[in-house]
């Protein structure tokens, strides 16, 4: 890739894909996967998401390992980004909670308040 124009084209294409442009009911599941997240137990969480989404044969769902989100004391953290622009962060996620998130939030579209980062009692 040699020019700014090519870069721009790639950027627009990648942005569309990342944020599920034009996709109805697209979901991007970001699992915090820095060393802090891994140490807190992000691997079973990630694997649960991957396995369950596969079993349920859901389309337009992407599961992505991302870096540290910053709230290290409350990891594993998971951010759910939907194609309608809504963003939700869950914290202290376990594989069981991941299952719940798949069922309640991904499938039914209901946020689970008690696991929200913004609502956690500090």
């Amino acid at each position: 890739m040699k020019t700014l124009e090519e870069l721009k084209a790639l950027r627009e294409k990648s942005h569309k894909k990342m944020y599920m442009d034009g996709v109805t009911r697209g979901v991007r599941i970001q699992v915090g996967y820095g060393t802090c997240g891994i140490a807190a137990g992000a691997t079973p969480v990630y694997e649960t998401f991957v396995n369950e989404i596969k079993d349920l044969n859901l389309e337009n769902v992407e599961i992505v390992k991302v870096g540290c989100m910053g709230e290290c004391a409350f990891e594993p953290t998971v951010e759910i980004i939907e194609s309608n622009g809504s963003k939700t962060i869950y914290c202290l996620v376990t594989d069981r909670i991941a299952s719940e998130i798949v069922e309640e939030h991904i499938m039914k579209g209901h946020r689970i308040d008690k696991y929200l980062l913004s609502k956690i009692k500090r």
Partner: protein
């Protein structure tokens, strides 16, 4: 990301009279109408203090203040600023405002006061997919530089931005780049110092694991500016995840053609290789790092000559820290002026802090320079847990000093922290409460430094060891007042005459705690007591009167030092007690004390 934007509407009495509540509601409805997402918080806050010019609307990030906002202005603000990021010029507050007034806001969360520039992509993109980096304007800075700017213009922009080294030195990066570019040589190098060694610091790790491409792009921009075609990332081997991700990122960048030959058709070549450290803190010092890459023992060298003149393999080399580099692509994307507008006059931009210790929200946070410590610790950090009292905050790790409660309102920047007897360091911020013994904390840091000293120069190698010997004796109850005097004189000498930064700053924790907590040292030395109840030899465990006789302490004691009947006050035999603290942890009613005031009965 959590809450992408915060829109704060002044809810003071005056502004309320001028429809601030309706304004808030209109913001909400406009945002919903334009489908801008759930992550934009709107809130009514306390009075901003500029009543004559209200209603006010303050938007974060960027701290944009609008004044005299009318209901019909809301749509324009939402369409221009919220949706497209373009502030509405005509509504901007034109006068001076005193930032210190904006502190009684109650609706803020962890991210509201943060300005994530270095961490812009951390937790947002998949670090193993270069396309996601590109989706977020990755490599656009490099493209712009190589297509539209000369090396001299690149350096000018860096200088204009005022970016100062984030590894601890605070040296202006643009000036360093300029020195290296002015050196004449057939070969030059760019080095990224990723040997993050401060205990408790993990800012660089987060960037390397979460956004490795930002460093690669920055190094390429630097190479272009100074005339180098080769870069090395010296990364500590204790970061295997980061090492792996960097390796993958480099391959992907090469595959795409943003690293390698003839980048962006400019004729400029740049390649990057990794070099792993082997467990030496001192290799974070730039000349020791260079020695290590050369295959020599990692020991610092004299400066001058500086690496900019004679560095790796004797060639001009520019060494910068990970966080410093992570700022670079954004500076070229958004401009030096934009960067300069964040932070303070002499310290522009942000700083990432690794918040640790006795604090509710341990983790990484990034704030504009000028944010006060109080804001960081209480508003972002969530304060001290378990209702304990703040004692001190240690910045700069083993090179820094402690900051006491009376300095909490100091705006954080390079110069202010040095004036307080500490330093910015790499960004570790450890919060200590009343249960920490400051002598023990100083000893902890000195133990680290003594272990990590390379041994080349006399004051650091021998002097810090002797300081540690003295501290150990003090903590064991064998200190004397003369020892305190020796600590001070020795500390000053080591600071004045050590060869490198490790030695020059090693005495800081001791000198700083001696200065601010002298009484605590004297208690150890004269009264042979540790007021915080930490040093085992100087602590007694005592059962207080509110003991309910539940026997939990006795059952948890590993040496059977506690006696007592059920429902009766228990008693600890101090001759048997090993000061492990198990009883104190087990007690459900906080009836076991280590504080000296409770010792009268002993």
């Amino acid at each position: 990301m959590l809450d992408r934007m915060h829109i704060l509407i002044c809810g003071g009495a005056e502004c309320k009279q001028s429809n601030s509540v309706e304004i808030r509601d209109k913001f909400k409805s406009e945002i919903k109408r334009l489908n801008l997402g759930d992550d934009i918080q709107t809130a009514l806050t306390g009075c901003f203090g500029l009543c004559a010019l209200g209603p006010h609307v303050l938007i974060y990030p960027g701290e944009t203040l609008y004044s005299g906002v009318k209901l019909e202005d809301v749509t324009e603000i939402v369409e221009q600023h919220v949706a497209k990021g373009k502030p509405v010029e005509r509504l901007l507050f034109k006068g001076n405002f005193d930032r210190s007034k904006f502190r009684n806001r109650s609706e803020l969360t962890f991210y509201a006061k943060q300005t994530r520039i270095v961490l812009r992509n951390c937790g947002v993109i998949n670090p193993l997919d270069i396309n996601e980096y590109i989706a977020r304007h990755g490599y656009e800075g490099l493209g712009k530089v190589l297509t539209n700017m000369t090396p001299e213009e690149t350096i000018d922009e860096m200088k204009k931005s005022g970016l100062r080294g984030r590894g601890g030195s605070g040296f202006p990066a643009g000036v360093k780049w300029e020195f290296t570019s002015k050196s004449v040589s057939d070969q030059k190098y760019v080095i990224c110092n990723a040997d993050e060694g401060d205990p408790g610091a993990f800012m660089d790790r987060a960037v390397l694991e979460g956004d490795p491409h930002s460093v690669l792009e920055a190094m390429a921009i630097c190479g272009y500016a100074i005339g180098a075609d080769t870069g090395y990332i010296y990364i500590r081997a204790e970061y295997p995840v980061a090492v792996e991700r960097l390796g993958i990122a480099i391959k992907q960048a090469e595959g795409l053609g943003v690293l390698g030959k003839n980048l962006f058709n400019s004729g400029f070549n740049f390649k990057i290789e990794l070099r792993l450290g082997a467990g030496a803190f001192v290799c974070g010092e730039e000349t020791a790092l260079i020695a290590s890459i050369e295959g020599e023992r990692g020991m610092p060298r004299n400066k001058p000559p500086f690496p900019a003149v004679k560095g790796l393999f004797g060639k001009p080399t520019n060494v910068n820290n990970v966080e410093t580099f992570a700022n670079v692509p954004v500076i070229f994307l958004k401009g030096a002026d934009w960067f300069k507008s964040i932070g303070t006059e002499k310290s522009s931009g942000t700083k990432v802090f690794a918040l640790g210790g006795k604090i509710a929200n341990t983790g990484l946070l990034e704030v504009p320079m000028g944010t006060t410590l109080r804001e960081v610790i209480y508003e972002i950090g969530g304060g001290i847990p378990n209702k304990r009292k703040f004692k001190a905050a240690q910045t700069g790790g083993p090179s820094g000093g402690c900051i006491t409660a009376k300095s909490l309102d100091t705006p954080i920047d390079f110069d202010n922290l040095i004036a307080l007897g500490s330093m910015m360091g790499s960004g570790g911020l450890i919060v200590l409460d009343e249960d920490n013994c400051m002598v023990d904390v100083a000893r902890f840091y000195l133990e680290f430094t003594v272990e990590e000293s390379c041994g080349k120069c006399t004051p650091c190698r021998e002097g810090t060891k002797r300081m540690l010997d003295i501290l150990n004796r003090i903590c064991e109850g064998e200190g004397t007042m003369n020892d305190l005097d020796v600590l001070e004189r020795l500390g000053k000498m080591i600071k004045d005459s050590s060869l490198c930064g490790l030695g020059q700053t090693a005495p800081n924790p001791v000198l700083s705690t001696l200065k601010h907590f002298r009484k605590e040292y004297e208690a150890h030395v004269i009264d042979k007591v540790c007021p915080a109840g930490v040093c085992p030899n100087l602590t007694n465990y005592v059962v207080l009167d509110n003991c309910i006789g539940c026997t939990k302490c006795a059952r948890n004691c590993p040496v059977g030092a506690i006696e007592g009947k059920v429902k009766e006050k228990h008693f600890i035999d101090l001759d048997l007690c090993i000061r492990c603290g198990a009883c104190k942890t087990a007690c459900p009613v906080n009836a076991i004390s280590t504080k000296p005031e409770s010792w009268e009965e002993v």
